[in-house]
Symmetry: C2
Subunit: 268 residues, 2 copies
């Protein structure tokens, strides 16, 4: 989209359906419009997806009407968790115009149980990749930074002997920094509150194996994943378990994020 | 949009910036892309709008993964308030693809202070207008209903002697019923919780005077409103106060919703 390199495009998600790692996720129903048909049908999603993400929790908030300057944004962030933003792509495709995703994402969002503070991540700071065009002044931070966080998603099916790694990526691949994400969210005067969870969006890199969701990995189902035992996957199937892990490691010092795991239950 | 008559298109809004009637609303900043330019600019919105809406509060919720059948939806609704979903149209136009409105609406949402229960509205039930195409079964309710609620928006400027009524509309103009809105929201398994606020969207009717926002009243600024004292308005200006009122009345029995009012403060 033309706006993508100008602003960290975002939306408000659903808070009530955020669950902790280990909670099973029920395959959701919704309206789906098969290609070439004139009317939608109702049924369980046929394109259930994961999104490998991270998310940060707000510590101190800001008052309504008072934006957060980008050079103070980091002071409002308490720490990080891993996140799986489960998504139903067929429901999303039909509903998202013009108000964005709704049922496609509000049925479940999983996070890891431990919050890793920014202090623990200090040794793993890295410069943010150059941005072109230069961001507008309210998104411009001298020496803006990111973190070197290794991230993996692995898929366990009922038939696999060992889980298959579907995504290997790194937090540094994100275009927008966390300071930019926060400053943008609050620039309208929107008040952030302690405990608010701000998610990164899917973390994909340039390499093929670094794509953070099935939509990107399989080109919307056109190139199914081939698993080592001969199974294939366009999308997640009932009984599949998806686990995201993350860690930082440098000079023998390691910080782990644990994991966020969830198994897909058949539709009601 | 092609999906409009098939589903009550909705999005998740921001809860922290919901304020009670009388709270002043600060004109928000954001990115705006003037027509014909290659890059956006940053500044206060030039097209601040109101949206005349109503909203209902959830009473009993539902558990995650367990949808609410449409014939039980009404049991989950506690009551109604008036709502003004303040919107910045220029910010919205640039940001809303593909994830929906974000900064354009998260800076402030005003509601009336008193909740009118469904019991109080019983005498004012009316049949829902016919829907074509017939809704999918999960949105189909025998004898589905709405309410006869008169709604008005009035604008007070610094120079007007008396407020000018900009919108006269009725709750019955809504295409989707409240049962349909609730059943749709929960059909993915999304869990509603006590106190959740579900808004109707702008309530416009067929008549010119029944349009519930400046965007529709002025055709996106092309036909400015003419006020009785000669002033004109494409959008809301600093110092303008917008008030929404609503009431039911039949056979001498009247239920009032009070009002939701807010005055526009200049940008910081």
């Amino acid at each position: 989209m033309p706006n993508w390199k100008w602003l960290p495009v975002a939306y408000h998600g659903r808070a009530s359906s955020i669950v902790v790692s280990g909670t099973e996720v029920r395959r959701p129903h919704g309206q789906i419009k098969p290609p070439g048909t004139s009317a939608p049908v109702f049924g369980p999603t046929k394109s259930l997806d994961y999104e490998l993400e991270m998310a940060f929790l707000i510590g101190p908030g800001n008052s309504l009407g008072e934006p957060v300057a980008i050079d103070r944004a980091i002071d409002h962030i308490f720490g990080f968790v891993l996140m799986n933003d489960w998504s139903a792509r067929d429901i999303q495709a039909w509903e998202y115009q013009p108000l964005g995703p709704f049922l496609a994402k509000n049925f479940c969002t999983s996070i890891s149980p431990w919050v890793v503070t920014l202090e623990a991540l200090e040794p793993f700071r890295k410069p943010l990749l150059p941005q072109d065009p230069e961001p507008l002044p309210y998104l411009r931070l001298t020496n803006d930074f990111t973190y070197d966080i290794h991230l993996e998603a692995r898929l366990q099916t009922a038939k696999l002997n060992v889980p298959h790694i579907t995504t290997r990526t790194n937090f540094q691949s994100l275009y927008w920094s966390i300071s930019q994400q926060l400053a943008h969210h609050a620039v309208s005067g929107c008040n952030l509150q302690p405990g608010d969870l701000l998610a990164s969006g899917t973390i994909s890199g340039a390499a093929e194996e670094s794509r953070g969701c099935m939509l990107e990995l399989t080109w919307r189902g056109a190139n199914p994943l081939k698993l080592p035992n001969g199974e294939t996957r366009k999308w997640l199937e009932d009984g599949d378990e998806l686990t995201i892990t993350g860690w930082c490691e440098e000079d023998g010092y390691r910080v782990g994020f644990g994991e966020v795991a969830g198994r897909v239950l058949p539709p009601l």
